[in-house]
């Protein structure tokens, strides 16, 4: 192991509890030991993932948020005592690995509750909500300190939470903590004065206009989290460790608008001055640890940073508030091992908190320790499967129901939180499989086939592996996408999979193989706009630098690719303009609001012009004609024009018994559909 990581592997303490190393699993919604968005029970799938992480040298395991009251069925967590017996057995298994485990409980979501359309309907219709109450109470789930606009659904205003409900929640924290302690759990974490959840909404002025003792003064705004830790301590004893999930700064400019890294702005949530006071106040109230980051649901990219956010994006703010407390301070947010180790040895933070990387590769810490870093499969911060909450104009939360009830899966690692479905078994009779296309889909299907005992060979028409993902990974902020391509190329070598470069297959009958997998991807769509043929380039022309771009660049198509190119152009000092047909940018399913809101906020803050519900009517040498929603015609300067209006599949042969289509060649999707589809096919052959 590299010397620079050594500080990560030193023990530390939370009160008297010793933790063997400085790597902590970030609490992610969906890894909860009591199930997710369903009546609480002991969740074996979550236990399987958490055990795997504990087996692979993570020091402190914190499963994601367990609502103290079930979202579905409305039972309290302290009810259904049976699960605590199963939990006790599981805790013995965890302790045998040397890891420790905290259970994180949430007081609730308030205005941050990600209402899907049906739930938004309930929240807006009192009669319907009363009818649905025994199963789900949307009004209760969104209740907040004061009447507030819901973050997701337009036209939904939360009701004020009552003092009786506050007391019930405080009791639930204390009683559930007691049962956890009895089951051998090493400590608990209170969720959360962080990310604009319910407790955070009480502490922040822009979301708390109460006039009772839970609103107004500093002490009143922080009363709810203080009473919770005091109640836990009274039930579990002073020395039972209680951590607090804490966002140092809210980084929030307005409802539904966050601050960009480095931006000078007026903070409407918690600023540094209040944060310095709050951390001391919360420590003195009884909290033994602060599990920190930044942000609220209005500034979501701080708490769930996409690749557009800087690495270690919260470290500076978290290190600053450590000076104001004596209790351990942990930091999350695209934390890199070498930077985390240095911050720990410099005494800036006490431990490094990592989440999504554990979903992409639960064994990454073991590989780091053994100096096998190049074997770590990188997380690309896409949220396409772990955190797929999607919002665009007119839709509350455009997430598939399947993704609502199964969070914390992983686009690059189908096994995470789905290990029963994605299981590899030895192939009964090995076959020779021709894989056409050396992109991510082709490499993944070949990799899985080889692991199962088949003999795959890849046929790639160009001289490189990576396919269209090479273009996708081109922007500077896509460093992890580049690492993912390199990881795949190493895997192809590691498993000795033959690759025939510069070999374009046009007729699959030329192949001598038992089975054929077609992974030839898709081709760009083109809108037949006058002048497009002559003056417009494709996204790949720009991304692969096949064509140069001038200063003013008009991008036709405000989907994810169009917006990411606009960000790349903006950061390179160009002047991008986006023209989009729909009523919002990135108006698609399966794209997390943390990712899309960064791009929308960035374009708004930096005055990148965006024309919505508009179309380009004509393209000239240095101009385009845009027709806006109200039929208004505008002429824009355009040194270059990029057409980014999606793709269509281009399979070279239809599917049949021994011919399989995967990835974009089958149906244009994203990295998740490509990789999961590769497994679906490779497991069946």
């Amino acid at each position: 192991m590299k010397a620079e990581y050594e500080a990560l592997f030193t023990p530390w303490k939370i009160r008297d509890l010793e933790i063997k190393n400085r790597i902590v699993l970030a609490p992610m919604g969906g890894t909860c030991l009591f199930g997710w968005m369903e009546p609480n029970h002991f969740d074996k799938e979550a236990a399987r993932l958490l055990k795997k992480i504990a087996d692979n040298n993570c020091g402190l395991i914190i499963p994601g948020i367990a609502p103290v009251r079930d979202v579905l069925g409305r039972k309290w967590l302290y009810q259904n005592k049976g699960k605590f017996k199963q939990l006790a057995k599981f805790m013995d298994e965890v302790h045998a690995t040397g890891a420790k485990l905290f259970v994180q409980m949430t007081a609730g979501f308030g205005r941050s509750m990600a209402l899907t359309e049906p739930l938004a309907m309930l929240a807006k219709n009192k009669a319907l909500n009363t009818l649905a109450k025994p199963i789900i109470d949307a009004e209760y789930l969104t209740a907040a300190p004061s009447p507030l606009p819901n973050r997701w659904a337009d036209g939904v205003t939360t009701r004020e939470i009552t003092q009786k409900e506050i007391r019930e929640i405080i009791y639930a924290f204390a009683e559930t903590s007691r049962l956890c302690k009895e089951a051998g759990v090493d400590g608990v974490e209170v969720h959360a004065v962080h990310e604009g959840y319910l407790l955070d909404q009480f502490t922040l002025k822009y979301t708390n206009q109460r006039t009772d003792e839970y609103g107004g003064s500093f002490e009143n705004r922080y009363r709810f989290p203080v009473e919770i830790v005091q109640a836990i301590k009274s039930y579990c004893g002073e020395d039972y460790p209680v951590s607090l999930r804490y966002s140092v700064l809210s980084k929030t400019k307005a409802f539904r608008e966050g601050a960009m890294p480095g931006e000078e702005y007026f903070e409407i949530g918690r600023d540094m001055e209040e944060s310095e006071r709050a951390v001391k106040y919360l420590q003195d109230a009884g909290y033994d640890m602060l599990n920190c980051d930044n942000g609220t649901y209005d500034a979501w990219y701080w708490a769930h940073p996409p690749q557009y956010m800087p690495l270690n994006c919260n470290l500076e703010d978290v290190s600053h508030i450590k000076k104001f407390v004596d209790i351990p301070v942990l930091c999350a947010g695209r934390m890199q091992p070498e930077v985390g180790a240095k911050a720990i040895s410099d005494g800036d933070i006490d431990a490094m908190v990592v989440g999504r990387q554990f979903l992409a590769d639960p064994a990454w810490v073991t590989k780091l320790m053994k100096g096998k870093e190049e074997e770590i499969r990188p997380c690309i911060c896409c949220h396409a499967a772990c955190f797929d909450l999607t919002r665009h104009e007119g839709s509350a939360n455009d997430q598939d129901f399947n993704d609502t009830v199964h969070m914390c899966r992983c686009a690059v690692n189908p096994v995470s939180m789905n290990s029963r479905h994605y299981r590899l078994t030895r192939a009964k009779n090995p076959k020779r499989v021709a894989v056409i296309g050396g992109g991510i889909g082709g490499m993944e299907v070949a990799r899985i086939l080889k692991i199962r005992g088949h003999e795959p060979e890849i046929y790639e028409k160009s001289d490189k592996l990576g396919g269209i993902f090479i273009a996708a990974a081109a922007p500077d902020f896509k460093e992890n996408d580049k690492r993912l391509i390199e990881w795949y190329i190493r895997q192809v070598k590691k498993y000795h999979i033959p690759v025939h470069f510069n070999t374009e297959i046009t007729d699959i009958n030329d192949l001598d193989a038992d089975e054929v997998v077609i992974a030839t991807g898709a081709e760009a769509n083109h809108i037949p706009i006058p002048g497009a043929e002559e003056y417009a380039m494709d996204a790949c022309d720009y991304l692969l630098e096949k064509k140069k771009v001038g200063k003013n660049v008009v991008i036709i198509g405000g989907g994810l690719t169009g917006c990411e190119m606009a960000l790349d152009l903006f950061r390179k000092g160009k002047k991008p303009v986006i023209v989009e047909m729909k009523n919002d940018l990135m108006a698609v399913k399966n794209l997390c609001l943390a990712n899309s809101s960064y791009l929308r906020d960035c374009f708004k803050t930096n005055n990148v012009p965006v024309y919505l519900e508009s179309g380009v009517k004509e393209i000239g040498k240095d101009y385009v004609i845009v027709e806006e929603k109200n039929k208004k015609i505008t002429k824009l300067k355009a040194d270059s024009v990029i057409m980014s209006v999606g793709y269509h599949s281009t399979p070279i042969a239809p599917e049949s018994k021994h011919v399989h289509l995967i990835g974009d060649a089958k149906k244009v999707g994203n990295l998740r559909t490509v990789i999961w589809g590769a497994w679906d096919t490779a497991m069946k052959i």
Binding site: N525, H526, I527, P528, M581, G615, V645, H648
Partner: protein
């Protein structure tokens, strides 16, 4: 400016996405999409929902 999706009446199979123009030529419904692709379907135009951007064709 939202384009429509065209479906077959009986099994709701998706006939075309991003449909830009619909024309009737004899016993055929001719669909043309945003990208210029053309699809000729023997059948009759049954229903168009402008708000939901939904076109239904009874395929012969």
């Amino acid at each position: 400016m939202c384009l429509a999706n065209a479906y077959a009446e009986i099994d709701q199979a998706l006939l075309m996405e991003n449909t830009k123009t619909i024309s009737i030529e004899g016993d055929e419904v001719v669909l043309k999409d945003l990208f210029g692709a053309v699809k000729r379907i023997k059948g009759t135009l049954r229903f168009v929902d402008m708000e939901e951007n939904r076109v239904v064709i009874a395929v012969a």
